[in-house]
Amino acid sequence: MNVARPLRRLLQIPPRGARQLTTTTLNPYHHRRTLKAKPESYTTPPPSPYTEGEISKLSKYYTDTQLASLLAGESAIDPTHFHHRHRQPDHDPMKLKYLDDLSTLDPILDAPSGPQTYTPGHPLQPIPRLDDLLTPSASTTNSSTGDPPWFHEVSLRTGFSVAEIRRLRTKILASHSVVNQTHMGKIRRIYCLAVAGNGNGLVGIGEGKSVEHSEAQRIATYMAVRNMMPVPRYEDRTIFGNLDIKVGAVELKLFSRPPGFGLRTSQYIFEIAKCLGLSDLSAKVSRSRNPMNVCKATIQALRSQKLPETIARGRGKKLVDVRKVYYNGAV
């Protein structure tokens, strides 16, 4: 029915969100028989031209010039020739379907072009360095926006766009001076610990040390953004269950709380929870309360959450959230 007029298929597109009624994937091992076009008699009536209503429907998907060229193309092809088209059979269903554009050389994956002279002790193909990509000439820097240069570097390293990095919530949580005794004397440097997060499931902490305070803060924030990792949240507002861990000398208890409870924790855990996007949490820190170690313990605790799905799979049991199923999320 729509073999000779492919655009007709669009007119029969199911509405958005229609269910896929089968989970079976396409069979790559097509039998030779099925690839041949089914024999249809030449007495089938020629396809009718598109009606006004159909053209207006199609103009939802294509611009005017696109539509004109498509209709011209369809009318130029003889329907019998189109009917007898054969696709080359896929002899190798396991072959890779390349998505890369192989016409341009990739700086990391492709070998260098040009004459290569072998020097003993060195590899023939130079090992690609990430720093080559991070030079301003290699990348399109937009210095007119006033962003610090490390935004662009961390954007390249992490894959987030510069706009996303600008929107991240960052804060310096701890800073103190550290001294290193060398042959030149005592070298005093500032240490900073920063937390970074997008407020919606990503959080990370980073440390930076430098002679200058601002430099240490910059390094710490950069490392925090680089170290961001996804952390699971129950209903995007609290943690899964209660956590009770000991990291170094810090004994940390994190409690999952009902909706609307708020973040009733000490300042360091509060900031980390805000960056992550938790809204209900309670915490108790005993033994050591050293700010740096409390931050590290909090991140480790959040990453050590055991999801109910993992528990269920490990035990071979079904775990049901009574709050959702029985109380319909009301409690």
């Binding site: 055991k306 993992t310 528990i311 490990g314 071979g316 049991k317």
Partner: protein, 156 residues
């Protein structure tokens, strides 16, 4: 009913899980068998086999006066996603202080509230108690049947 030996059972399970053992032996007793079968029902361990101190029995061996000292229960542990399935097993009633709980208290524990000196059950946590029905039961099952008993151990 010896809670001292049950305490050893709990510690040994935790140690064996942390060491990553696949099977481990515990003292063979009626209480331990009941606890082990309850753990298996709840998916914490995969099998419970009788055996002697060398290993599980290849074929069924009756317990007699000659071999009773060497009889053991062999338990095979489970691991998923690089983590042990049975990570914590702790006594609730201690030899010096037994804790009995009725239906009211058990309902509170299962609902996530503390009762007496017993902390509430976490998500996925299992509390085994001995009842007068003659079988070791889980707290939620006991609440369904409206009975209480002596709280033995909690597992997660």
């Amino acid at each position: 009913m010896s809670l001292v030996n049950l305490g050893h059972f709990c510690s040994h399970m935790q140690n064996a899980s942390r060491a990553g053992l696949s099977i481990t032996a515990i003292m063979s007793s009626k209480l331990h068998l009941g606890i082990a079968l309850a753990l298996q029902d709840h998916g914490f361990i995969s099998s419970v086999t009788r055996g002697d101190s060398a290993g599980p029995d290849a074929e069924e061996t009756p317990t007699t006066q000659e071999n009773i000292a060497t009889r053991r229960l062999w338990i095979s542990l489970k691991y998923y996603d690089n983590e042990p399935v049975l990570s914590k097993m702790k006594l609730v009633s201690k030899p010096k202080k037994r804790i009995h709980m009725g239906i009211q208290g058990l309902q509170k524990l299962v609902a996530g509230e503390q009762h007496g000196f017993v902390q509430p059950l976490e998500a996925g946590e299992v509390m085994l108690l001995s009842t007068d029905r003659g079988v070791i039961m889980e707290a939620r099952q006991a609440v369904e049947r409206r009975i209480g008993g002596q709280l033995l151990c909690r597992v997660r």
